[in-house]
Structure formats: structure tokens, C-alpha cells
């Protein structure tokens, strides 16, 4: 879904050919989200099939150029105007793993938390290093994207600390509490939209 609109947005400033989309997409997302050529061409075919872009001749090198259609522009406007809903986000595997660890006998929650903390810090260190490079080359979009990734990891690490402290305070394990299935169902993605 996101790749589709991410690619569609590239046509706003003019017609493009397939391969151009790969490099421009990566440039706009700070190089942290590589897409493969196959994925780009498949997505382009779908955009064409759905009438969001249309072929308009070839360039000097004989490559087919595509341009965004009015339908495509409207779809893109709708995409920008719609906030990302929690149901669009993947389930939070970490939350599931940690809460399962905390309620399963014989599992050392502290060790599970520490392994995750180390991994998250390793990732954050790499993002920070990429961010400094992006900053040096004045790649503001890249900096902002990496800031987002760092902020998210910061939140995750804070939550890990909180889980560890809470579980330790309760003797190293949590007691599972049965919840009524229908009222206020919470998914691991903190499903605000379904609560309304």
C-alpha cells in the first residue's frame, strides 16, 4: 500500500520511466527503505492497470514514460489526507513476545528484555550514524526519516526499561488476566481506531 502511493507521488513532478522510480524512491526515503526493481515494475503495472498512471510515449532512450492521471492525483490526495490508522500497522511482535515471556513460567524476562535492548541500541547506533552522514550531506528528508526511526526506538527502549522494572517488582513474572473478549479489545498495536 505504502510503496504504491510512495511511487505514485514520484509522478507529481513529471513523467518517469520504471527504473527512475527505484532511485528516486530510495533518495526520498533516505536510502533506508530499498525496493527491488521487480517490486517497482510490478507496482508500476498495477498503477497503470488501475488507471492511476498512463503511458505517454517514449523518451530519447526508447524507455516508456508514465505520467500521473487525474484519477491518480485524486487517489494520492486521499492518501495524504488520511491519517495512518493503527489497523494499517503490523502487529507489534515485540509486545507479543515480551508479554508472553512475562507470563510464561521458566522464562527469564530480564534476559529477553536485555537481548532486545542490545539489539535496539545496535540498530539505533546504526541509524544515528546514518543520520550524521545524511546531516553532513544536507539530506533533510533522510535526516527526518532517520529521526523518526530513532524516536521510535527511543520509545521502545523506554518501554523495555518499564517492562523490566514492572516485572521485577512483581517477582519476575506476571499473572495472566483473562479479559472479556468483546469489550475494549486491545491488540498489540494499541488499536485506537477499533475502540471508537
Amino acid at each position: 500500500m505504502t510503496v504504491k502511493f510512495g511511487l505514485l507521488a514520484l509522478f507529481v513532478d513529471g513523467p518517469k520511466y520504471g527504473y527512475q522510480l527505484c532511485t528516486e524512491f530510495e533518495a526520498r526515503t533516505g536510502g533506508t527503505w530499498p525496493v527491488n526493481v521487480g517490486q517497482v515494475y510490478t507496482t508500476l503495472e498495477r498503477l497503470d492497470r488501475d488507471g492511476l498512471v498512463a503511458a505517454e510515449g517514449t523518451n530519447a532512450d526508447g524507455r516508456t514514460m508514465y505520467a500521473i492521471t487525474d484519477t491518480g492525483r485524486a487517489a494520492l490526495d486521499t492518501w495524504f489526507a488520511t491519517p495512518v490508522a493503527d489497523s494499517d500497522r503490523p502487529r507489534n511482535e515485540l509486545a507479543i513476545k515480551l508479554l508472553t515471556a512475562a507470563t510464561t513460567p521458566g522464562v527469564d524476562v530480564t534476559a529477553v528484555v536485555q537481548r532486545q535492548r542490545t539489539e535496539s541500541m545496535r540498530l539505533m547506533r546504526d541509524y544515528t550514524s546514518l543520520r550524521r552522514e545524511a546531516d553532513r550531506s544536507d539530506d533533510v528528508a533522510g535526516v527526518l526519516l532517520l529521526d523518526g526511526l530513532v524516536f521510535a526506538l527511543e520509545g521502545e527502549i523506554r518501554w523495555l526499561d518499564h517492562v523490566e522494572t514492572t516485572v521485577l517488582r512483581r517477582g519476575g513474572r506476571l499473572k495472566p488476566v483473562a479479559r472479556p473478549r468483546r469489550a475494549g479489545r486491545l491488540s498489540a498495536t494499541t488499536n485506537r481506531s477499533s475502540a471508537s
Partner: protein, 251 residues
């Protein structure tokens, strides 16, 4: 295969700071408190190591022992190959003054001295003339972005400026070991980032750095992050070596 792909510089020298089985026990009434337990750690030139852990995990004790401000109950600490335990008090004081720079959360500047005098102080204590020490201090202050403030007293400077002075003082001279204890703790986020930038730059220029922090964002500026719990090192991110990592993942 991997040798040709190493991204991290082959430093090829002895570590600037080496902890070997270091323990620290404090008496507490009838009982004892284990502040550090069998910590082994090496920090090379050009490497910044962050130490993370909850309060009471031994982070600051580790830093104090690394800087010769505290003495281990067991194990050995070497700074540029010199065992700190074998030094008499005046030799230790000299090594601390000439080789080790500190940055603290609350800056620890001498309030009766100007920024330039604070920075020049370790050089004057090492026997340098006032004029030559000031010249070095001005260079160090310019490196941390202070030019117009050099003759101001600490209470005439903002927190961020005071910490810049402290960083300049920590890196003046031949010092190759930079120890920072929550250097961003009293600063807002962007000022903290600017301070980290200075520390990082000094390390990239060849110093060895240890950064104690509880803030993940600042720890992520380090090449390696080690985690302490109850005085023990429980984990480490390992060295940064992306190419090797990629090769491993690919194979």
C-alpha cells in the same frame, strides 16, 4: 576474506583504557555493596564506548575508576599501558592531569576563573607558561565554538556554553582518554546533541572515549554500547562493522 572488508579502522595499537577483571566493593555498615564485579573492557583510540545501565548499576564507579578518581578492590586498570595501581599519588595526579579529560553533568568549572582560564588551568599546572597555556586554551575554545565568550566567567555563560568550556578543558593538550559522565544530563536535547558532536569529533580525531549515559539517543552516538546491571557487564552491542555483518547475513 573478512580482513579486506573491515570498515572499522584497524587501530593496531594497545587500547588506551583497559579494565581487567575490575571489582569495587564499598563497605556499608556491617555489609558490603558490590558496585563493580569482574568488569573487563578495552577502549581503543578512535573508539567511543557508551556505558548504559540503571542508576546504581555501577556506571559512574566504572568511570571514576577508569579516570583514577577511585581505586578498584580487585583487578587492574591500565591507561595507555600504565597500570594505575602501580602509581604513587603524585604520579597518578600527573597522569590524570596530562592524559585524561573529564566532562561531568554539572560542568565542574572553577567559578572564579574565566572560560579561558578554566581551560588553560591543566596546562599551567603541567608547567606551561600562562601565555602559552592561554594560547592553547583559545584554540581549544574555538574548536568547541566559543570565541566571544572566552573571558567570561561560568555564571555569565549558558549551560550549553559551560559544557563546551568543560569539553575544551577535557581535550586540551595531549589527552587521549576522554571520560564523560552524563555530559548531556543538564542540557536540552539540541544542546546535548551539539556536545555529543564535539565529543564524537574528538574521538574521531584519535582519542578514546567513554560516555556514561542513561539516554539511549546519546548512547547511540557511540561505536559500542555496554550494559551494566548490579555492577556486572551483562551485554554489549559489539563493534560496528557493517561490511562484515552484511557478509555474514549474505552467507
Amino acid at each position: 576474506m573478512s580482513a579486506g572488508w573491515r570498515v572499522t579502522a584497524d587501530r593496531g595499537t594497545a587500547p588506551v583504557l583497559r579494565f581487567s577483571g575490575v571489582g569495587r566493593v564499598y563497605p556499608s555498615g556491617e555489609a558490603t555493596v558490590v558496585a563493580l564485579d569482574d568488569v573487563t573492557l578495552e577502549v581503543a583510540a578512535g573508539e567511543l564506548v557508551a556505558v548504559m545501565g540503571q542508576s546504581g548499576s555501577g556506571k559512574s564507579t566504572l568511570l571514576a575508576i577508569g579516570g583514577g578518581l577511585d581505586t578498584p578492590s580487585s583487578g587492574q586498570v591500565l591507561v595507555e599501558g600504565t597500570p594505575l595501581g602501580g602509581l604513587n599519588p603524585s604520579a597518578l595526579a600527573r597522569l590524570r592531569r596530562d592524559r585524561i579529560g573529564y566532562v561531568f553533568q554539572d560542568f565542574n568549572l572553577v567559578s572564579g576563573l574565566t572560560a579561558a582560564e578554566n581551560v588553560a588551568l591543566p596546562r599551567e599546572l603541567a608547567g606551561m607558561s600562562v601565555r602559552a597555556a592561554r594560547r592553547e586554551a583559545l584554540v581549544a575554545l574555538r574548536e568547541v565554538g566559543l570565541v566571544d565568550e572566552v573571558d567570561r566567567f561560568p555564571d555569565q555563560l549558558s549551560g550549553g556554553q559551560q559544557q563546551r568550556v568543560a569539553v575544551a578543558r577535557a581535550v586540551i593538550g595531549e589527552r587521549r582518554l576522554l571520560l564523560a559522565d552524563e555530559p548531556t544530563g543538564a542540557l536540552d536535547s539540541s544542546t546535548g546533541q551539539a556536545i555529543l558532536d564535539l565529543i564524537r569529533a574528538r574521538v574521531d580525531a584519535g582519542a578514546a572515549g567513554v560516555l556514561v549515559t542513561h539516554e539511549a539517543r546519546f548512547a547511540s552516538w557511540a561505536d559500542r554500547i555496554v550494559f551494566l546491571r548490579d555492577g556486572r557487564m551483562v551485554d554489549s552491542t559489539g563493534d560496528r562493522d557493517w561490511a562484515e555483518q552484511l557478509l555474514e547475513e549474505a552467507s
